[in-house]
Symmetry: C2
Subunit: 294 residues, 2 copies
């Protein structure tokens, strides 16, 4: 089968062994839905060229309103089986024999009725469910929008999104906090654990994020922290607030995502008294295979 | 005397009666320190042209590192007298007989030692101190950076800054939250108290600001709130978090600032069980007169 994680900014495609889910081949392109200019059928054709496999499963923002076709959200609690039952078949005449379908996202609700949604990460969660005991477990998928997922008995009970990554970029690039910092393009700066821990500690104080954020400026103004240390202080402050509100106070937290970011979260979780367990990055492929095999 | 509030984006000048502090004349110009290109002396000369009064007091960002001359912060607790004792005299040869001085800002520290600073609003607080009984009182000065000030016995004991206004603009203009909203330039939209109250109520729920912010998107995505109502929902959410962390749970809160913003805060304070008292906008002139008369 062919598994594709088609997000906002990039596309990853895997050719998988039908019986085992083993990765046979993989491709990656900067052709997220925003870069496709609506030419989804043509882009898909190019990406799977030469791969004879019949079954093609797409996950991610390709199933959103801005994507190829909107695949309605499935409500939590959800299982790989309930997601598989709601795959949205797509007619793609130019692909001939291929059978294409889109994986729906998930929707859950907070106690006050406000909805939360996920689209893309749910297949990574499905991929991880296979590897875990029945649980319950807490999963954390850091990113622009970090997802905190609760699973039990191989069922996704609910989740909460935190806009931590997007806040970081908006505050650094578009508020007074960035003025004392080095340019954001300078990504060569090594991780500064001490500044990060100081941000985490600040998040445990009273005052709230809107007040603590101003402290990023005053710590720079007063010379308490050098300019090049402020980005990791801000990062620690934001992740500290996220953990304060969304993480358990102890026990295992399963981390899934990009290495640099999961290491940062692992650091913060350990400082909180949790036990982070980091998982690999190819869980999307595993999850898509799991859905196709259900 | 001449009193000038010289901020980042604008300059306000008042000619005051020395004996009573009554406003005789006033001028306003979009000549904040960022618009002066370093020509502070020339701009000041133009603004006070024809005003013969000898004494000129400047407050605001003009006394910052980016301004004309840095006036070092005075530590809290502070009084009008301790501020007046630390006025920074400026030699301005081209102004002849005028005696020009800059008012210092204030610095305070949170329990964990992180500094907070104010520069400009402290003269409004001095202006209000005259009108209040000895207290103690809580003051709130909403704006890009909202200031919460504690005063007692006509002394400023401390304060805390919340970046609420700047967060609102950065989130609306530079994150996914703005995408479902009308353009920010459309400032004609009337205040939507129901959407604002919904945001306030959401801030009282568990989950934290980083999670609640994503709800602004999902409330739009699911159609629970129409696009044009989302800006006031976001505003209520942010002000709700600010109040949750920084406001008292009851009693009088004195509001000082722009009318549209103080009305919004008054709404939120009443919903919390506080009693807002709104004060006029010319407190900066009153405070500068108070400092000159000390």
């Amino acid at each position: 089968m062919i598994a594709i994680d088609w997000g906002t900014s990039s596309l990853r495609a895997w050719r998988l062994d039908d019986a085992s889910g083993r990765i046979l081949e993989q491709r990656r392109a900067p052709l997220g839905i925003l870069a496709c200019d609506g030419r989804f059928e043509a882009v898909l054709g190019e990406q799977v060229a030469g791969w004879p496999d019949r079954r093609v499963l797409l996950a991610g923002m390709i199933g959103s309103r801005q994507g190829w076709r909107e695949a309605p959200y499935v409500a939590c609690p959800a299982t790989p089986a309930s997601l598989a039952a709601r795959l949205l078949p797509l007619q793609v005449p130019s692909l001939g024999d291929h059978e294409v379908a889109i994986v729906p996202g998930l929707v859950t609700r907070d106690a006050d009725g406000v909805a939360d949604v996920v689209r893309g990460e749910e297949v990574q969660v499905c991929g991880l469910l296979d590897a875990l005991d029945p649980g319950p477990h807490v999963l954390c998928l850091p990113g622009t929008h970090c997802k905190w997922v609760e699973v039990a008995h191989r069922r996704i009970d609910g989740f909460r999104t935190a806009m931590t990554g997007e806040f970081y970029h908006a505050l650094r690039a578009h508020t007074i906090l960035g003025r004392l910092m080095p340019a954001m393009s300078d990504e060569s700066a090594p991780f500064d654990p001490e500044a990060f821990l100081r941000g985490l500690a600040r998040a445990r104080q009273p005052g709230g994020l809107l007040h603590h954020a101003f402290g990023v400026r005053t710590e720079g103004l007063t010379g308490a922290l050098a300019a090049e240390r402020l980005p990791d202080y801000l990062s620690g402050l934001l992740i500290g607030h996220e953990l304060r509100d969304l993480a358990p106070t102890q026990g295992v937290v399963h981390l899934v995502g990009q290495e640099a970011l999961t290491l940062r979260y692992a650091h913060a979780l350990r400082a909180r008294g949790c036990e982070p367990v980091i998982h690999g990055e190819d869980l999307a492929a595993r999850g898509l295979w799991r859905l196709a095999s259900t």
